[in-house]
């Protein structure tokens, strides 16, 4: 038996023993996933047991080095772990922005001390992070951000505002882009900084969306003092002062990669496929076909696109593991996933007809078709709009000329 075969056998046995039945429904949603953080309360005993078992093994962050709380798995091993986990439809034991976004950026740009402090806490689910990128005047044009960060000797002084900070109201720390030099060209005066959300001067206000609910918040910084360092070598700033754009770009690739690996047509409102949902809702004609030929054709086309998309995620992962990094191609996945997600929920609403357009006595019900459909409008905006992704593909993948 090769080492990898051995690893697969061990992983399979470990999962069988340690992943509780209740965690094997395969349908991970924002509501049922384990986010971690100071305010986190496990939703069930099974969720807690699964988290603790994974943590003991380093499997909350399997590819991170052991000294930072991971299991130090190779790409091949990590793929096997994923495959075996998917085989039994096991949820991830822990998912959050610390794992998917900050972690990879710290691994690439952080000091050893920064990694020790922050990566360990992320791996153990102790700290939940949110992202302070967008500002009211700096959305798609992210680099025009204006949140001001001044050097006050032993500390940084921060004033300004962020927007669309997902889950800022329940997060413990924020990784943030701030402007440290207003005179430099706009990409050159930005710094990437980490701060505790409990710091004096930070306030948060949730944003209500057309869907009636949302994880988004506005975050305000009013004379916030951030220490230069949280201990020896453990600076608040990641990378160099005024060179935060490099860190930000690296992180955006991970964000797009993450957003791009959403499963567009599944999971959003239940595990069933679109065609099955339509068959239940609409019924069949006398030839046994869905009693709405135009909808039937649209659903089938969307399912083919969805299938090809999921294979592309798999292929790009395989290529990355073989040494061909995803780079700007993550924009292709982000673009395709967000458009397909919108298409899928639009089709669900069309199948549901007027029934799906009704709301309850307390407004749009959380988790309803309509709620999801409305919320999904945001996918082609957040994390860089569809238009921004197309610009990135044009310039960085296709090398088309600039105006």
């Amino acid at each position: 038996m090769s080492d990898l075969e051995q690893f697969r056998a061990e992983t399979r046995a470990w999962l069988a023993e340690n992943c509780p039945e209740e965690m094997r429904d395969g349908d991970i949603t924002a509501e049922n996933q384990c986010w971690g953080g100071r305010q986190w309360e496990f939703q069930s005993d099974a969720q807690k047991r699964w988290f603790e078992a994974a943590l003991a093994k380093g499997y909350t962050v399997p590819t991170w080095p052991k000294e930072y709380g991971g299991a130090g798995l190779t790409a091949d091993e990590a793929k096997i772990l994923d495959e075996e986990r998917n085989r039994i439809s096991a949820r991830k034991p822990l998912s959050n922005f610390g794992i998917s976004m900050l972690g990879p950026a710290l691994l690439a740009f952080g000091t050893h001390e920064q990694k020790l402090m922050h990566l360990g806490a992320i791996a153990r689910g102790e700290i939940r992070w949110c992202q302070g990128y967008s500002e009211p005047g700096a959305g798609s044009d992210l680099a025009s951000l204006k949140t001001k960060c001044e050097d006050k000797g032993d500390h940084w002084l921060i004033n300004g505002q962020k927007i669309w900070t997902s889950n800022a109201d329940i997060s413990d720390w924020i990784f943030c882009l701030v402007r440290t030099d207003f005179d430099a060209p706009k990409h050159k005066g930005i710094t990437f900084i980490l701060m505790d959300m409990a710091s004096e001067g930070i306030s948060v206000k949730p944003i209500i969306l057309i869907s009636g609910h949302s994880p988004f918040c506005e975050t305000f910084f009013d004379d916030v003092k951030v220490p230069k360092a949280y201990g020896d070598g453990n600076l608040a700033v990641v990378g160099e002062v005024n060179r935060g754009w490099d860190v930000a770009k690296n992180l955006l690739v991970h964000e797009r990669g993450m957003l791009g690996t959403m499963s567009p047509l599944r999971g959003a409102t239940g595990p069933e496929n679109l065609g099955g949902y339509a068959a239940d809702a609409i019924g069949f004609d006398e030839t046994g076909r869905l009693d709405d030929p135009s909808l039937r054709q649209k659903i089938a086309q969307a399912e083919i696109d969805d299938w090809a998309y999921n294979l592309t995620v798999e292929r790009m992962n395989d290529e990355a593991n073989a040494g061909n990094g995803l780079g700007a191609k993550s924009s292709m996945l982000k673009y395709a996933a967000s458009e397909l997600t919108k298409k899928g929920s639009q089709l669900r609403m069309d199948i549901g007809g007027t029934e799906a357009a009704t709301i309850g006595p307390d407004g749009i019900e959380y988790g309803s078709l309509a709620n999801t459909w409305l919320y999904n409008r945001a996918y082609s905006i957040l994390g860089g709009t569809t238009e921004v992704q197309l610009n990135i593909i044009s310039k960085r993948v296709l090398d088309l000329p600039s105006a």
Partner: protein, 379 residues
């Protein structure tokens, strides 16, 4: 299995790319077209391809093949799609070889596979009986006669039927016109007196034939696969054909796209490179994304044919749908983004547009396969 090519497959890809760019570029295809070459391809080139092991790409080594499997066949087809190479590869090395190797008797394999590998025998598959692909819809009859059958009927659009030495004919031995059961495959000599072949040149300048058969007497030895159970074999042959056509269209999509992006980087209008216009950039970026999706779909279907042939049908069907949609979009956009020059005969993109249209129609377009997916999924 990883969704990437192995080192061996990559070497085959490089070799095919090198050989075809040099020996069968679009210019060679134009020459075949403009000289009204009655075969529609170069027999010398086909001999060379056979000598390199391409004609027997999916055939097992014991019969003289190179045993590269369907991924190997797809790798070649993709490069042929890039160069618009005309050859009997698809009809003989994919359809013919799949039919004989998977469904033939020991005697049939012995008799035909070697001849496929050395390029000496050309095959064609006769399925459709009307303008649209409907493989269950077979009226062509095989009536019991003595120890064998008499075949009669008509077939349309038999790709390479005009040059084939052997024909595989799907005929009805029982049941009604639209039944999948009751179909039997026959492997017959194409130059039999009872067979009349009418050469029907296609818009892509490849060649096909309409075929009428009038009381052709055949024996049990001419049956390929099971009597009345031929649909399963037909489905297997068509699956292989769909995946490989998908690979060919994927290559054509990529090539038409590459020609177009090169043009976008060179051509100036309004004092700027037209590739700097966002209206064109966004469409190009969308197309690049669709091409990536298509490559994944095609590779998956080819891998599945090698890995678990019987279960590959649905996947091949979806890959054909996806690659057809993308190829149509890619070649339409190629013409549009080129402007006027795109619709001239001297410019290549129009040739891709025409070939892709025929490949899209062959063995079912995207709508046909979407319908199959819906049926299979129960809606």
């Amino acid at each position: 299995m990883s969704l990437i090519l192995t080192e061996e497959q990559e070497m085959l890809q490089d070799a095919a790319n090198g050989f075809l760019t040099e020996n069968a570029p679009v210019a060679a295809f134009r020459e075949i077209r403009d000289s009204k070459n009655p075969d529609g391809f170069s027999r010398d080139l086909w001999k060379e391809m056979a000598a390199m092991g391409w004609a027997g790409i999916i055939v097992n080594e014991e019969y003289g093949g190179s045993e590269f499997g369907y991924v190997g066949a797809g790798v070649l087809a993709e490069q042929m799609g890039r160069n618009l190479t005309a050859s009997p590869f698809f009809s003989t090395s994919v359809l013919g070889a799949t039919a004989v190797q998977r469904y033939g008797t020991a005697k049939q394999k012995e008799q035909h596979l070697g001849a496929i590998c050395d390029g000496s025998t050309l095959f064609a598959l006769a399925v459709d009986e009307g303008p649209r692909h409907r493989p269950e819809h077979i009226e062509f009859t095989a009536t019991p006669h003595g120890n064998g059958y008499k075949l009669s009927g008509a077939k349309t659009f038999v790709a390479d039927g005009h040059v084939a030495d052997k024909l595989i004919i799907a005929a009805r031995t029982s049941g009604e016109a639209r039944d999948p059961s009751g179909i039997t495959l026959f492997l017959v000599d194409a130059d039999a007196a009872a067979i009349e072949r009418t050469h029907t040149p296609m818009i892509d300048s490849r060649n096909a034939a309409n075929i009428t058969v009038d009381d052709l007497e055949v024996t049990g030895d001419d049956i390929l696969g099971e009597v009345d159970g031929g649909y399963e074999a037909l489905e297997g042959i068509l699956s292989a054909g769909r995946a490989v056509l998908g690979a060919e269209m994927s290559g054509s999509s990529q090539q038409a796209f590459d020609i177009t992006t090169d043009y976008l980087k060179e051509r100036e209008q309004f004092g700027q490179k037209i590739g700097s216009f966002q209206g064109l950039q966004h469409r190009a970026a969308h197309l690049a994304t669709e091409i990536e999706m298509t490559k994944s779909a095609v590779l998956k279907s080819l891998q599945l044919l090698d890995d678990d042939f019987e279960s590959a049908s649905a996947t091949c069907s979806m890959a054909k749908a996806k690659s057809g949609m993308t190829a149509q979009l890619s070649t339409q956009e190629a013409i549009q983004m080129h402007g006027g020059i795109g619709v001239t005969d001297e410019y290549d993109v129009g040739l891709y547009f025409k070939r892709v249209h025929v490949a899209q129609q062959m063995f079912g377009d995207a709508g046909f396969h979407a319908d199959r997916l819906a049926k299979r999924s129960g809606y």
